[in-house]
């Protein structure tokens, strides 16, 4: 028993020291940051992450702009990663680009206020195709392609999307140009300066799984044009000069800007599915800072009021409760940093409410403790019985709130209301940490204070026990 008590105390002290190390805002050495291996390397530091409603910025929710039922599995997710690349290229700090409920993409751009610019950035979908036109077409010519009409490709097995070209029903009076590949087959592009002519070229590489088909296609069409078509408009029709396997070079006396633009379009303009915007939120940048300051003040006042309540009501056990409560706040902040949790205003409210829940568990225990003392138990016995008998109430009442949080979380995930999700996550973390704080930290401290032989004399000091 004595060894166990000592061990528990060491655990509490160790967890406290580690949490302090995480939470205290000193310059963290690199090796500490590298310990957070599960976090995205770009945001890997020991700071509390703030959500869009606190930092200000733009939130865009979009979905595939296709007829219901025609969306092909996986295309939206590849669109998502392309948008993510594009967003990362702009240098916006800590952007969020994620799937929402399977059929939507959520983009959050903290600090961005130019709504149209940001919308262009994510929406300029550019469905990119390589078309076997047979004859060179002028740049800027609008054409109808088999892919635009029926998602049909000459090489459907190589790209992630598409049906065989034979499934296209001809339309009289319209030329349907067969699409060979979509932009999906591109691995990377670059715009280097040619060493011989001094003009700029566009160099491109083909993904491994499409190389066989690309070689077959280019090999059978030497000296024929390959038209690059973006959103149904011809961009350029370079002539195929050789059988190409893993990539090639488009030469055409481009200027530096032209080459780079074509390279970027090839690279990032290749969204496999057109998108439309369903919801936009633009939050002013200074709204959040004020709200954070106010929430922190509210939280501190709430904490002080709770501490006074505990001290007045429970005296000596109350002091233990206040210490446990302080540790609860410390542990929670450490978990927020480790996860990392993105704090939103409702999220902060959820955390502050969980402080109250943490007190609840302590109150349940202290009330039981008092009851057992009144019933004539020894101090040590009352501590043990208090925790044992309060446990079912604590467990059941926390479980009911946890169930509700799970429902809230799934509701919040359904449509990108990160506010609702943030509230649920923080409340859950708060509840779990409060269980640890009440059932382990408070118990260890209570045993320490009331469990020793020298504490037995406390039994006479009813005033200190709050009876």
């Amino acid at each position: 028993m004595r060894g166990r008590k000592l061990f528990n105390l060491i655990v509490v002290i160790a967890v406290t020291l580690i949490s302090l190390l995480i939470v205290l805002p000193f310059q963290k050495p690199e090796f500490m940051k590298s310990l957070l291996f599960w976090q995205d390397p770009r945001i890997r530091d020991f700071s509390l992450k703030q959500g869009l409603d606190l930092k200000g910025g733009l939130q865009v929710l979009m979905t595939a702009d296709v007829k219901p039922g025609t969306l092909i599995t996986g295309t939206l997710d590849s669109a998502r990663s392309i948008i993510e690349n594009r967003v990362n290229g702009t240098g916006v700090a800590e952007p969020v680009v994620q799937m929402q409920g399977g059929d939507r993409i959520l983009v959050e751009l903290p600090g961005v206020t130019d709504r149209q610019l940001a919308i262009d950035l994510v929406k300029r979908t550019g469905s990119l195709e390589f078309v076997d036109a047979g004859v060179p077409l002028l740049a800027g010519t609008p054409i109808t392609t088999s892919f635009a009409l029926a998602q049909a490709l000459i090489y459907p097995q190589t790209a992630a999307v598409g049906k065989p070209i034979s499934s296209v029903t001809p339309i009289s009076g319209t030329t349907i140009y067969p699409t060979a590949f979509t932009g999906e087959i591109l691995e990377s592009t670059a715009a280097p300066q040619s060493t011989t002519t001094g003009s700029f070229d566009v160099r491109f590489a083909i993904k491994g799984n499409a190389q066989a088909a690309f070689a077959e296609f280019t090999g059978s069409r030497i000296n024929k044009p390959l038209c690059i078509v973006l959103d149904g408009v011809v961009l350029s029709c370079p002539t195929i000069q050789a059988r190409l396997t893993d990539g090639g070079v488009i030469t055409g006396r481009f200027t530096s800007d032209e080459a780079r633009q074509l390279a970027v379009t090839l690279n990032y303009g290749a969204l496999p599915v057109p998108l439309k915007i369903e919801a936009v939120r633009e939050v002013g940048a200074t709204l959040g800072a004020d709200a954070v300051r106010k929430s922190v003040v509210a939280g501190i006042i709430g904490f002080i009021v709770l501490a006074i309540f505990l001290l007045l009501n429970y005296k000596l056990p109350g002091i233990v409760g206040v210490i446990a409560l302080g540790l609860f706040v410390l542990f929670s902040l450490a978990v927020f940093i480790l996860m990392p949790v993105v704090l939103t205003l409702p999220g902060i409210a959820g955390f502050i409410i969980s402080i109250a829940a943490a007190v609840d568990a302590n109150i349940l225990v202290f009330e039981r403790f008092r009851e057992e003392l009144r019933a004539g138990r020894s101090l040590r016995g009352a501590v043990e019985a208090g925790f044992q008998r309060a446990w079912p109430s604590i467990r059941d009442s926390n479980l009911s709130t946890l169930i509700i949080c799970a429902i809230l979380y799934s509701f919040g995930s359904a449509f990108g209301a990160s506010a609702v999700r943030g509230f649920a996550i923080n409340l859950v973390i708060g509840l779990v940490v409060s269980l640890f704080s009440a059932m382990f930290v408070t118990r260890t401290l209570m045993r320490l204070v009331f469990g020793s032989d020298s504490a037995a004399s406390l039994n006479e000091r009813k005033d200190l026990l709050g009876i």
Partner: protein, 316 residues
């Protein structure tokens, strides 16, 4: 008469008090369903209703007419314009149909040109398409239904060792619906009086109330379950009263801590979550009342088959 020893016996008084708390709110909700253009119990924010919402902070005082002019110029026929906060804050809200990025950008620059400089740091613009708004409303409905069902099953399961566990869960559910109705009803009244709009956070508040309301009830029920075993042969009314007395200090302490924290948030917290906190506070306060004055007396009423406490009063 209002002593804790008589709560169970005088249950009719508390049932009537609950009805009096609920009825005005329900009337307000019905009134809103009939009168609001959306035919909903509350005014809806963009989370649940398609369209765009601008919150504009001007640096100088301005007029509704001036703002309206700019929106109409840009082909927005019927903007709903209202002033938020104190008149000196120059904070305006404009609701319109769904506008895309280009139009809303142009409106903002036109406003700056012809109405007055905006405090860009405090501007919020939200646009939600009809599809999203519809789905959110649907998801909200399912969330509330799922929460109620989950609680019903959860209480049933936790009290499976007590006699008639289904009674505990249904009584807890009724106490829960009571709290939701009080909070929803008062929100409807505030919707009428102060133009409160219901957003996703309102639903969050309602679901959180579900969690905490059940928490209060479980603490008392837990003690009843324990006392049934300990005091075999004692009447249910007496066991319930005993359990109430034994836990009332605890229930009040627990609820008080939550209420204290919420009051701190309401007084000192950010403006954008004030309404959310207020709804939570109403629900929590109702939760304290219902767990003591509804949940336990209801359970007794069911066990004794005597809703209004007539038998109890006849023998007293």
């Amino acid at each position: 008469m209002f002593s804790i020893y008589n709560i169970v016996k005088n249950r009719r008084i508390y049932f009537l008090m609950s009805l009096m708390l609920i009825i005005p709110g329900v009337l307000a909700m019905i009134f809103n369903v009939i009168n609001l253009p959306t035919h909903t119990p509350w005014k809806l924010s963009v989370d649940f209703r398609e369209g765009s919402r601008f919150v504009l902070k001007f640096q100088q005082p301005t007029t509704e007419t001036a703002i309206r002019g700019v929106f109409i110029q840009n082909g927005v026929p019927n903007p709903e314009i209202s002033q938020l906060g104190a008149a000196t804050e120059n904070l305006w809200q404009v609701r319109t149909s769904f506008l895309d990025g280009a139009v809303s950008q142009k409106i903002q620059s036109d406003l700056e040109a012809s109405v007055g400089a905006l405090d860009k740091g405090q501007v919020t613009v939200e646009s939600v398409s009809p599809k999203v708004a519809g789905e959110v409303t649907q998801a909200a409905f399912w969330a509330v239904l799922a929460a109620s069902l989950a609680i019903l099953l959860f209480v049933w399961y936790s009290f499976r060792s007590a006699p008639h566990p289904i009674r505990y869960s249904i009584c807890a559910l009724i106490a829960l619906l009571h709290d939701l109705l009080v909070a929803a009803g008062l929100t409807a009244i505030f919707s009428l009086l102060f133009n409160w709009e219901v957003d996703a956070l309102f639903l969050t508040a309602m679901l959180t109330i579900v969690g905490f309301s059940v928490q209060d009830t479980i603490v008392v029920y837990d003690r009843i379950r324990e006392n049934i075993v300990r005091h075999r042969g004692e009447g249910f009314t007496s066991i319930a009263t005993r359990s109430l007395i034994e836990t009332v200090h605890r229930s009040l302490s627990i609820s008080l801590t939550t209420v204290l924290v919420l009051v701190a948030l309401l007084l000192f917290g950010g403006a954008s979550i004030k309404q959310f906190i207020a709804v939570l506070l109403i629900g929590m306060a109702s939760g304290i009342f219902s767990s003591i004055y509804n949940a336990v007396p209801l359970l007794v009423a069911w066990e004794e088959r005597d809703l209004w406490g007539n038998k109890a009063n006849a023998t007293a």
